[in-house]
């Protein structure tokens, strides 16, 4: 058995940690590249959303490298994400690739657990006692690493607009993340965090700068994965913007575990409530959250909103229509960037530069 999982932001770091700690053999798909995307595009329909193509590309590359078991988080209605597996399975089958599929239930319910039980019947025979015994420990390690990655990334978002040497933050963040990745024991992980944080904090910074504050909202894959959004977060940071986002693994996981009462998840409830001023019903996925977050951020004094969505994304298309109105009503600049497989990194850079310039004019005029 060789397990594989798709790329999404820094997810590979902690998925790897789970497999490694539990001693389960795994294959990490190569870092998402132009080739990955080309593979995904070639084997899907033009109007299917970009995350589908990226994930499909990851799977194809991993299976070609010898992986045989795909682990994927399941999802449900109403958007297309919930049927990714149905379609990806038949595409892989048609391509003659062999795989087994393991769904991680998106919400804990008896039905989901039963399905999981059915799917793992065969797989469990291949697991050793050690694998099973160490699995909870692996999950714990994975969770710790996830939190470490998120803490480092959040720190990077904070210091990036202050950096004196452009690109320095990104370099240091990569290094710190690789330390987290390499840590094999809880002790080593602690050390990685202890050294990683100052690496970013102690970087040469210009503390006199007052950065713009911009919130990134939108569909979660496009917000969380720098390959999909061509590094919007980093680009904005390097243009002197302090970026905030609420799409983090921990938030989404806590939400699906129905730990909504935790402070972080309840922010989502606030966003949802705020969206009701414009939207009479839950459209699904992040649509209402995107709108609600834009509204509340404008009240919190943010300078602008960047809205990311994949081309033809069903819920976010609705959101983008409404966000135009939100921007007008609340006098907050909103930039919607629609992402697809086109090579648009240069265009995104230009768009963001223009956006930041506009923020500057707005500030001067005020």
């Amino acid at each position: 058995m060789k397990v594989t999982f798709p790329h999404l932001g820094s997810m590979h770091i902690f998925c790897k940690a789970i497999a490694e700690t539990a001693g389960i053999p795994y294959i990490l798909p190569p870092e998402t590249s132009r080739k990955t995307l080309t593979l995904g595009v070639l084997h899907s329909n033009e109007c299917i959303c970009l995350p589908f193509k990226m994930i499909l590309g990851n799977f194809i590359e991993a299976l070609q490298m010898g992986a045989d078991t795909i682990v994927m988080v399941g999802s449900g209605p109403p958007c297309r994400l919930g049927l990714y597996d149905l379609v990806q399975k038949v595409i892989l089958e048609d391509m003659g690739l062999h795989y087994r599929w393991l769904t991680i239930p998106p919400r804990l319910s008896w039905k989901a657990l039963w399905k999981n039980h059915e799917e793992t019947k065969e797989l469990r025979k291949e697991l050793s006692a050690k694998n099973v015994l160490f699995f909870p420990y692996g999950l714990w390690m994975g969770w710790k690493k996830m939190m470490a990655c998120e803490a480092l990334e959040k720190l990077a978002m904070k210091v990036r607009p202050m950096e004196l040497k452009k690109g320095e933050t990104q370099k240091r963040l990569k290094k710190a993340l690789s330390w987290v990745d390499e840590a094999k024991t809880p002790k080593a992980l602690e050390e990685a965090i202890r050294e990683g944080k100052p690496l970013l904090q102690k970087m040469e910074q210009d503390h006199s700068r007052i950065p713009f504050r911009v919130a990134i909202v939108g569909e979660l894959y496009t917000v969380m994965d720098p390959h999909i959004n061509r590094g919007v977060e980093q680009k904005l940071g390097e243009l002197g913007v302090e970026v905030t986002r609420t799409s983090w693994f921990s938030n989404h996981i806590l939400r699906s575990l129905r730990k909504n009462k935790a402070d972080r998840a309840s922010e989502r409830v606030r966003f949802f409530e705020a969206s009701k001023a414009y939207l009479g019903y839950d459209v699904g996925a992040e649509c209402n959250i995107s709108i609600g977050e834009a509204i509340l951020r404008s009240e919190e004094g943010y300078d602008g909103i960047v809205h990311l969505m994949p081309f033809a994304c069903m819920p976010e298309t609705t959101a983008s229509g409404i966000l135009t109105k939100v921007g007008r009503d609340r006098d907050i600049p909103i930039l919607t960037i629609i992402l697809d497989e086109q090579e648009i990194e240069g265009r995104i850079q230009t768009l963001l530069e223009a956006f930041v310039e506009m923020l500057e004019w707005k500030k001067r005029a005020a």
Partner: protein, 326 residues
């Protein structure tokens, strides 16, 4: 009865299934129903959001009506089935229209969600009636009559599709012309009802098909059971009611019973894009189908020449298949 005012119904989306029901209900309550004319020309389409063509047309039609009516009827169709849901865009449609019409126009956006226990279409219409100032008794009577005229309409549906031009399909006062001679080819046309019957989307494909000697078969002929049979063994349940109907009826007709199958989609329709890939691949994995299969994807382009060529070629394939088999 004295006219209470005007209610506008945009000629878009589920208009293409439910108009007779909606219209009768409002008319029985004493309202005059105004229906938008249609875009007909590409320049008239309003690009309010970067959505699929059917959604853009909804906005276009709504804007066309906004100064002529007292209320605009755009129900929030979350689910029109006990178990399955509509496309998520339908959930935000009334809000999008409200913003696009930029005024204080009243939009009747009563929610229809039949998934929840104890809900029914009747209840949604009771609430609509209430909003329009009708008593429960009046609404009840109007709804009963609406249902009656709708089921009568549905009974003639297959004949209407084949014998009336698309523009007159939903004009209930147009009587059915006498049956013409039988068309030589039976071809199934599958897709969302608005893709099938909105001539702004499909450039009046059905008229073209009829002129080429095709009898139009639609999924309306199939029972839910027949559709379920085709999709019950999937590794995951398709949760959109329209998507289920499309996949189920495509597999049903591709396994025989008709001379050809045509699948109509709109560019940027999320559901169709995903399921189209699924259908193609699954068909391939299962060894293909002997029934000729054509997928037509529509967007704002208005030229019909390409469409004509493809449909003529398809007719030739169908004809060839038919002579080979006999």
């Amino acid at each position: 009865m004295e006219e209470k005012g005007r209610i506008g119904i945009p000629r878009a989306l589920m208009f293409y299934r439910y108009l007779p029901l909606w219209r009768t209900f409002f008319e029985r309550l004493g309202w005059r129903v105004m229906i938008s004319d249609g875009a007909r020309q590409k320049e008239k389409i309003i690009y309010f959001e970067d959505s699929c063509l059917p959604m853009k047309l909804l906005v276009t039609h709504a804007v066309q009506l906004k100064d002529k009516v007292d209320h605009l009827f755009i129900p929030r169709l979350v689910s029109i089935h006990r178990t399955y849901i509509m496309c998520p865009k339908f959930r935000g449609a009334p809000d999008i229209v409200r913003i696009a019409t930029e005024g204080n126009l009243s939009v009747i956006d009563e929610m229809v969600d039949l998934r929840e226990r104890g809900t029914s279409l009747f209840q949604s219409f009771l609430k609509i009636g209430e909003k329009l100032g009708a008593s429960t008794q009046e609404s009840k009577r109007a709804f009963r009559e609406a249902e009656k005229s709708f089921s009568k309409f549905q009974k003639d549906w297959v004949d209407r599709v084949n014998q009336l031009p698309a523009a007159k399909l939903f004009e209930t006062d147009v009587p059915l012309p006498p049956v013409r001679r039988k068309a030589p080819f039976r071809v199934a046309f599958i897709g969302h009802p608005y893709n099938l019957f909105d001539i702004d989307i499909n450039k009046d494909l059905l008229a073209l098909a009829k002129s080429l000697g095709m009898e139009i078969i639609t999924a309306d002929l199939l029972s839910e059971k027949e559709i379920n049979r085709e999709v019950s063994d999937l590794s995951k349940e398709i949760y959109w009611s329209s998507g289920r109907e499309i996949v189920g009826s495509l597999f049903h007709f591709l396994s025989g019973g008709v001379d050809g199958v045509i699948f109509l989609t709109s560019f940027k329709c999320g559901i169709d894009a995903l399921l189209q890939e699924f259908i193609k691949r699954r068909l391939k994995v299962r060894g293909g189908s002997s029934v000729p299969f054509l997928i037509l994807s529509f967007d704002e382009h208005t030229g019909r020449e390409g469409l004509t060529t493809r449909l003529e070629a398809f007719r030739d394939v169908v004809e060839q298949g038919k002579t080979d088999n006999t």
